[in-house]
């Protein structure tokens, strides 16, 4: 009994190590075989449409509501200290530094990441990837790499749009609804947000999240067992794993980036 439990544990560990190794090789192969994604830009642009453009609605609506809630909650706290004029900087900094990249990445994982995994998993299950290989077309170059770069390009743009609509949402609630002074809302924001420290760092975060989410989604699809359960399990794992990875990476990046920032 104990022996079989140990054997099972050993198998699980070995499987996990093997999978990590396979994922690493898959990632390297994708990067090295990315030529097609750039020489035939049409392929990548098509994927930007599917991952990026079609994610716009959920990103914009969520951004707007998150901004509006920030406006409400921020005003409620700030007015206790008589500093409601700082609402603009509070909304903008929270969005640009954290909420924009992180929430956009979480939404991207569930909207676009899951779609990528399901699509590639089903292509594998229906032998489309095998057929492509037999036609002397490398599926990693033709199918995987364009989706990978499309994800990396889309993610920072989505995060920026999330932050922009969020700020607009904060403005709607703070200035239009509650009546915070419009001049101080914008001028405080302008003086508080630093291009290098806040915006560039936020963009870096969103690029890193884009790499992580897209790579996980592609790998899970490519590695999915070619059955209905296999693809559904892989899709779930994409959302769960990439969400956790985004949150963990966010902590690490924040610790590195904003250590010296007041």
């Amino acid at each position: 009994m104990l022996k079989s439990a140990i054997t099972r544990l050993g198998h699980r560990v070995l499987d996990a190590v093997w999978r990590i190794g396979f994922a690493a090789r898959f990632f390297v192969a994708t990067v090295f075989r990315s030529g097609t994604a750039f020489t035939r830009l049409g392929l990548t642009i098509r994927e930007i449409y599917f991952s990026g453009v079609l994610s716009l609605i959920i990103i914009l609506v969520s951004g707007l509501f998150v901004g509006m809630v920030l406006g409400l909650q921020g005003y409620d706290t700030l007015q206790r200290y008589g500093s409601e004029s700082a609402l603009g900087s509070l909304v903008a900094l929270s969005l640009v530094r954290e909420l924009g990249p992180v929430l956009a990445a979480l939404l991207f994982a569930s909207r676009a990441g899951s779609a990528i995994t399901a699509e590639i998993g089903l292509m594998k299950a229906t032998e489309q990837l095998s057929a492509m290989e037999m036609m002397a077309v490398d599926p990693i170059a033709r199918v995987v790499a364009p989706r990978f770069w499309a994800g990396i390009i889309s993610m920072p743009l989505l995060a920026a749009l999330f932050s922009a609509t969020g700020i607009f949402g904060g403005y709607l609630v703070g200035v239009q609804l509650i009546g915070v002074d419009e001049g101080s809302f914008w001028s405080q924001m302008q003086s508080a947000v630093d291009f290098q420290e806040d915006i560039v760092n936020g963009v870096i975060k969103s690029v890193v999240f884009g790499v992580a989410v897209t790579a996980i989604a592609l790998f899970e699809g490519y590695d999915a067992p070619p059955t209905a359960e296999g693809v559904s399990g892989a899709t779930t794992r994409t959302v769960v794993t990439s969400s956790l990875v985004v949150l963990a990476l966010d902590f690490v990046l924040t610790a590195i980036m904003f250590r010296g920032v007041s």
């Binding site: 489309q128 037999m134 036609m135 077309v137």
Partner: protein, 270 residues
């Protein structure tokens, strides 16, 4: 090596993990022939095709296509060889996000610099050959099973390969589609000067169209011969297979402990 052999398989041994699938298979396909590989499900027929296509490597023995040992080729060499092979997957494996036209045009666009006009003409010719020129604008989801397979066949012959491999081309087809598909395989082989390898368990349909048959069982070639030799064969396995008998050398029952024991009946009560 005889120059007219396109595919030569010598003493090939292969297994998935610890499970041996092929235990020393010898097989040749001459140019211009339709060769059938038959055997019951799970006997390693599809594995043979994957070995020829270079998607798997044998653990022993050699697989040669047009004189080149497939397992020794690097990726570039393998891709060069695969451009001269077509493979028809069991369910067609059409790209579901493309129209029928784009599916057939896929290889032409990937591997040639032909202008779009020329590609259009070629695709329509290939589709016409399988009788589906009128379906060029449809999506794969709108096709019946038989039509999807014919589109896949048009796609497989797009680059005028020298070898086409068919994985169960007759599975799940109605009698009309069955006849159409069998006929197409024979006609394309003859008119385009191809060599065809057909993996199938549909004996009656394939005996009508093939030149030579190999029977695979338990990982070895159990019998081989022309359709007439096979029909006349007295080997128990071939007889069982050709006549579709329930029991014989291939048992009806999967290996199991004695029935009575499994039902919990002791010897006295059984």
């Amino acid at each position: 090596m005889a120059p007219d052999n396109l595919v030569e398989i010598e003493n090939v041994v292969f297994g998935y993990g610890a499970r041996p699938v092929l235990k020393g298979v010898n097989l040749t396909a001459r140019r211009g022939q339709v060769v059938a590989i038959m055997g019951n499900s799970g006997c390693g027929k599809t594995t043979l095709l994957r070995l020829i296509g270079g998607q798997l490597k044998p653990s022993q023995g050699t697989v040669k296509v047009a004189g080149e040992s497939v397992a020794d080729l690097d990726q570039a060499g393998l891709y060069r060889l695969r451009r001269k092979m077509g493979m028809l997957f069991q369910f067609g494996a059409l790209f579901t996000d493309m129209t029928v036209f784009d599916n057939v045009a896929f290889q032409l666009r990937e591997h040639t610099d032909l202008p779009e006009d020329a590609i259009r003409d070629l695709v329509l010719m290939k589709l016409h050959a399988v009788g589906l020129r009128g379906a060029a604008g449809l999506m794969p989801a709108e096709l019946s099973g038989g039509m999807a397979r014919r589109v896949a066949l048009a796609r497989a012959i797009a680059l005028d390969p020298m070898l086409i491999m068919y994985d169960e081309p007759f599975a799940g087809l109605d009698p009309i589609s069955l006849g159409v598909t069998g006929n197409l395989i024979r006609r394309l082989t003859d008119t385009l000067g191809l060599t065809s390898l057909v993996v199938t368990h549909d004996v009656q349909e394939s005996l009508k169209i093939v030149d030579y048959v190999y029977f695979v069982s338990e990982g070895v070639i159990e019998a081989e011969g022309t359709p007439d030799q096979i029909r006349a064969s007295t080997l128990p396995f071939v007889h069982q297979f050709v006549h579709g008998e329930v029991d014989g050398p291939v048992p009806f029952h999967y290996p199991a402990p004695p029935y009575a024991e499994d039902l919990g009946l002791s010897a006295g009560h059984a």
